[in-house]
Amino acid sequence: MSRIDTTFEKLKQQNRKALIPFITAGDPAQAFTVPLMHGLVQAGADVLELGVPFSDPMADGPTIQRASERALKNGMSLRGVLDLVAEFRKQDATTPVVLMGYGNPIEAMGWEAFAQRCAEVGVDGALTVDFPPEESHEAFEHLQAHGIAPIFLLAPTTKEARIEQVAKLARGYVYYVSLKGVTGAGNLDLSAIEEKLPQLRRHIKLPIGVGFGIRDAATAKAVAKLCDGVVVGSRIVQEIEDSTEQNVVANVGRLVQELRVAIDNEKE
């Protein structure tokens, strides 16, 4: 059983929801990524989404764009991100790590080399924002061959036939984008999520994580009631941007702890 499946199975037995924080690798600097990852786990994260910076992050809002720019300026690359995961795995053999980013850096490295290196360093899943299922056949073969879960986005605009198609290909969990817009936008519509989820559940047997637009403990708690996992990205990246090198790990830890408490109290 994969680390992702084991994690969600355990959470289900405990009747808890997953907390899935996102940070961009190499932000604010490469030396901080592994300490931040361990800090996230200590603060209560169940799955880590590690952003691979890209020069043209079309699906991201200004917060994550700036994080990508900082990381690239610091010399971060896809190979470098994979090395950081290897470093993280020296002290953490159980927390699932999912890489999230755009397809071109992987195309440049080659899907086979990428999937192989993912398996070596202990990456569990890959989410490629701009590679929909139609264009991902070759990519999947390589990911599947090395046991790396392809993670897919679904959106409020996704039609039922596509949900079915994604259900067949997805592994690990499915990431439901809770709003029409880029990452970090503020207009979260809970009733729209509530309406869409039964349609998703009809086809998708995997856990469903919800993200985009989750800004604080209150929204995290409200979203946790509806799904299996809460993804928080821009809010954490904003905290990194607002912190100093001295307090960044502590600040991010405190924020994630608050989210953890809120999610665990979702039934109140």
């Binding site: 440049a108 596509r162 817009g181 936008a185």
Partner: protein, 399 residues
């Protein structure tokens, strides 16, 4: 030879496709279905042709640049005068087509990206013409070098949004327009300016621009009794070029030459010529194409004197035409383009856009070694009024 691209999924061989975030997939699918529904609709075609004739002023003439050709002493250079279109460039052909489609799809808000500003002006123009709200995204760097076009768009009622991210040029304007589209997908039609992006854009933009080559195929025999020996056009994303080239793909014995922006020279690394520089295949802005990138797959900042060619990618059909050998792609450096710009001003009384000056420069380069009865047809894709500031600066003149 039968040439039939793209396939139903928008692939030109290994190129093209639909590489978009899930949120936009339904939007591009709707666009594809609606375009396929209307492209052969007699009423749609009639309205498009009416607008091209009465609003744009088509057909655009072909002009024999005789003094320039005589001075070069070789092949005869003919110019397809897209610079004489309403708004001063080929961009209006496509903007009209997409606006008519937007109207049929009930979208009242249109957005666009622009580099040199010609596509922004064309979009602002059709938005005014059809009563639509218009937002144009433009890199902050380009806003500086193309100030007259920015003012023109504002006069036409458009909102011009400066883009400060990344290299602050065309590719970043594309990113920002895509972000707007994701957010406002239900109300908004994205009038994309070049024959690239996710399917159906490369096919649709090509179809609307093919009026250029279709006219030329009729006009050339009328003028000289035969087709030209070569058709030449500048290639950024490549919409004016594919509009001229596509109708000639299956015409035997017509050489097809695309001219990319060589910037400071291919060897300098400061250029915008992915095909000439043998860049690797990559994925950006919704399609798989040859792409200027570093070894880690990050997009590199490009350089060209001409904002309209300053783009790291190129349309997927040009990538295919290169691979199958039907078209040849070359690069012209900034200084060569400027020399051609000057030559056309002085010999023919025509001020060309810096983009089109690249195509002209290549024709001027090869003409002298060709026989005098050979004919080169150059797509003069736009006029140079917008480039006054850039050219003056380069000559050390303050306007």
């Amino acid at each position: 030879m039968t040439y039939s691209y793209p396939d139903l999924q928008g692939h030109f061989g290994q190129f093209g496709g639909v590489y978009m975030a899930e949120t936009l997939i339904p939007a591009v699918e709707e666009l594809r279905d609606q375009y396929l529904r209307f492209r052969d609709d007699p009423e749609f075609k009639a309205e498009f042709e009416y607008e091209l004739k009465h609003y744009v002023g088509r057909p655009s003439p072909i002009y024999h640049a005789k003094r320039l050709s005589d001075d070069l002493g070789g092949a005869q250079i003919y110019l397809k005068r897209e610079d004489l279109n309403h708004t001063g460039a080929h961009k209006i052909n496509n903007a009209i087509g997409q606006a008519l489609l937007a109207k049929r799809m009930g979208k009242k808000r249109v957005i666009a990206e622009t580099g040199a500003g010609m596509h922004g002006v064309a979009t602002a123009t059709v938005a005014a013409r059809f009563g639509m709200e218009c937002i144009v995204y433009m890199g902050a760097e380009d806003i500086q070098r193309q100030a007259p076009n920015v003012f023109r768009m504002k006069l036409l009622g458009a909102t011009v949004v400066p883009v400060e991210s990344g290299s602050r040029t065309l590719k970043d304007a594309c990113n920002e327009a895509i972000r707007d589209w994701v957010t406002n997908v239900e109300t908004t039609f994205y009038i994309f300016g070049t024959a690239a992006g996710p399917h159906p854009y490369p096919m649709m933009v090509r179809d609307f621009q093919c009026v250029i080559g279709n006219e030329a195929r009729v006009q050339m025999p009328e003028m000289i009794g035969r087709q030209p020996d070569a058709v030449i056009a500048c290639v950024g994303g490549g919409s004016n070029a594919i509009g001229l080239f596509h109708p000639y793909i299956e015409v035997p014995d017509v050489q097809i030459i695309g001219v990319e922006a060589g910037g400071h020279g291919i060897a300098s690394g400061q250029h915008a010529a992915p095909l000439t520089a043998n860049s690797k295949v990559g994925v950006l802005h919704g399609n798989k194409v040859y792409l200027i990138q570093d070894e880690n797959g990050q997009i590199i900042e490009t350089h060209s004197i001409s904002a309209g060619l300053d783009y790291p990618g190129v349309g997927p059909e040009h990538c295919l035409l290169k691979d199958i050998g039907r078209a040849q792609y070359v690069a012209i450096n900034d200084d060569e383009a400027l020399a051609a710009f000057d030559a056309l001003c002085r010999f023919e009384g025509i001020i060309p856009a810096l983009e089109s000056s690249h195509a002209l420069a290549h024709a001027m380069k090869i003409a002298p070694s060709m026989a005098k009865d050979k004919v080169l047809l150059v797509n003069l894709s736009g006029r140079g009024d917008k480039d006054m500031n850039t050219v003056a600066n380069l000559k050390g003149i303050t306007l």
